[in-house]
């Protein structure tokens, strides 16, 4: 990673974000950036504001103060579905899939923002709608192959085991072919083997498709292995922002994780 960063290398930048719910401050004056093509980790103890940060980026929460710049443009007040159309896909800590729908349909729904046939041609099932279905189905099949989930293509995802659901959720986010992928604890609750698989997928997505990834993760080993840069949050404040190695040796970060007091 170079030290000098050109302006257009930055995909997303948050500037002085403050977010509070009533009297409770969730985020306080947070600034950091995500560069194109990197894997950026957001870490911190429970309640540090990591998920709040993702929800701000993704448009579920609207910060009282601060600016969000995406792809070189200042982003104004946006609803989550507009953010998605802008090119930001995400997964959730506690999995938000369409449980009654098959794996294939979940992924096809993930591709929705890339499909443009009008309602009339869809109802009549003619020309553009039909072509589009086939074309996007192909793309989805590629993702299914990539994630090795061929065997569960037609299974309703509500019936799948937890680890598989996480994988399908990643697949749905990939299907959007977004510029930025937000992963909220993609490996939470997984066993070692599943974790390793997921790490592999995250790295492959980053390398093969060149997708920029921001992820929240608790497993420090994982974070050190796969991320280029790490931002550390604690009690809604930014504690550190540097390479994984520096973060690991930062005494403040160690204290925050171990709960050591400073007086």
């Amino acid at each position: 990673m170079q030290d000098t960063v050109r302006e257009d290398d930055i995909l997303l930048e948050v500037r002085n974000i403050s977010l509070s719910f009533g009297g409770v401050t969730a985020l306080e004056n947070i600034s950091f950036d995500i560069r194109r093509g990197e894997v950026r980790a957001i870490i911190g103890p429970n309640g540090a504001g990591k998920s709040s940060m993702l929800n701000v980026i993704n448009g579920f929460y609207h910060p009282q103060e601060g600016e969000i710049w995406f792809d070189g443009k200042l982003r104004h007040h946006m609803k989550p579905h507009q953010v998605a159309r802008l090119g930001i896909a995400r997964t959730f800590q506690n999995i938000a899939l369409f449980k009654g729908m098959s794996t294939l349909d979940n992924l096809m729904t993930g591709r929705l923002i890339n499909m443009h046939a009008n309602l009339f041609s869809q109802v009549a099932w003619i020309g553009p709608a039909q072509r589009e279905e086939i074309e996007h189905r192909q793309k989805v099949e590629e993702i299914i192959d990539f994630l090795k989930i061929q065997s569960i293509r037609k299974t309703p995802v509500g019936k799948l085991p937890y680890g598989m659901q996480k994988r399908v959720e990643l697949g749905r986010a990939l299907a959007a072919e977004s510029k930025l992928l937000l992963l909220d604890e993609p490996m939470a609750g997984m066993n070692l083997e599943e974790k390793e698989d997921m790490c592999r997928f995250v790295l492959d997505v980053n390398e093969q498709f060149g997708t920029t990834i921001a992820l929240i993760e608790h497993d420090m080993g994982v974070v050190m292995d796969i991320s280029n840069r790490v931002v550390v949050l604690d009690y809604g404040k930014k504690l550190a922002d540097s390479s994984p190695d520096e973060v690991r040796n930062n005494p403040e970060v160690i204290d925050a994780y171990l709960g050591v007091s400073h007086d």
Binding site: A84, R90, M101, Q122, A129, R172
Partner: protein
């Protein structure tokens, strides 16, 4: 076959046809309930309103003519001889889409994330408002609706079934109304199209996605508000089809809005979230009430069709509250 068996078959057939009509109304409920969790009490009134509007276009009535005449002292009633059925139906569809858009814009938008009971109350308000609006726009008199669907008994069927009877009996053949047969055919077509649409198109998947999980739907870029407009438009279209069928059968009158109440037991039987459930629930109720009337009716003084469906629904509630096809109610403790 003896006439007794043939009569029973006739009753079952007519029950199936009536059941399809119930299903049509129930279908509108299921669509909206699935996508937004709203029990739309106004579904029956939507059918009435659609039918009134259709007749209005067909006969060239000027909307609000009574009101206009009162205020300006004029005597306008019609703007012309009226439109042909196809054009009138297309225009009515547009009106129902406009209605869906207005409902979202003026009502749902402000009630997002409210308790179901509040949304339910809002639809009751909507029902009464629309009934009044329909009255004001098109007048309260009973209107005949004819869009060219054949009606009356089928002589062919009478002739065919007359030969089924065993020798030595006198039998005059079965009566089946052509309008009912057409209604059944159109309902089957409608359900098939709706099912295919929701399975194999982008918008169909988006509809299912919203029905499944709002949060997830938002993150893949689905706008809830536009989906609600689409769902209410489809429900409006289904209401129009139901309105045409019931209107052709028994005239367009304000009691049409009460068929919504008949849809309730159908929904309890079939489950509020299942499209096939609405169909099968409708058929069970239709056949059930006709057979009950045929067999038990004479013993209890008749008129059992008024209450049979509700008692059956009550029975179901005791044993299978989620309905035959509804999503299982599982509570984690």
């Amino acid at each position: 076959m003896t006439p007794d068996i043939l009569n029973t078959i006739e009753v079952i057939l007519n029950g199936l046809m009536t059941g399809v009509m119930y299903s049509l109304v129930a279908l509108g409920f299921v669509l909206i309930f699935k996508a937004s969790g709203i029990f739309n009490y106004a579904q029956g009134v939507m059918a009435l309103f659609a039918a009134l509007t259709l007749v209005g276009f067909q006969t060239g009535q000027i909307p609000f003519s009574h009101l206009i005449n009162e205020i300006f002292g004029t005597h306008v009633h019609n703007w012309g001889p009226g439109l042909n059925s196809v054009l009138a139906i297309l225009l009515t569809i547009l009106v129902m889409i406009l209605f869906a858009w207005l409902v979202e814009k003026l009502l749902l938008q402000y009630l997002v994330n409210q308790e179901p009971i509040i949304l339910f109350m809002a639809t009751i308000g909507l029902a009464f408002f629309m009934e009044g609006l329909g009255d004001l726009m098109w007048g309260a008199d009973i209107k005949t609706l004819d869009v060219g669907i054949p009606s009356g008994g089928s002589f062919w069927w009478e002739d065919v079934t007359r030969t089924w009877v065993s020798e030595g009996y006198e039998y005059y053949g079965m009566y089946i109304d052509l309008l009912d047969v057409w209604a059944a055919g159109i309902a089957v077509l409608l359900v098939t199209i709706l099912t295919l649409f929701s399975q194999y198109t982008k918008t169909g998947r988006a509809l299912r996605a919203v029905a499944d999980d709002h949060q997830a739907a938002l993150t893949v870029g689905i706008s809830l508000r536009s989906i609600w407009v689409i769902v209410w438009s489809i429900a409006g279209f289904v209401a129009l089809v139901a309105g045409i069928m019931w209107g052709s059968k028994s005239g367009v009158q304000f009691s049409l809005s009460l068929i919504a109440l008949k849809a309730l037991p159908v929904l309890i039987l079939g489950g509020f979230t299942s499209i096939p459930g609405a169909i099968i629930g409708g058929l069970i109720i239709g056949v059930g009430e006709k057979l009950f009337e045929f067999w038990i009716g004479p013993l209890v003084g008749g008129a059992t069709e008024n209450w049979f469906a509700y008692v059956l629904a009550l029975f179901f509630l005791m044993f299978r509250p989620q309905g035959l096809f509804g999503e299982r109610i599982i509570e984690r403790v």
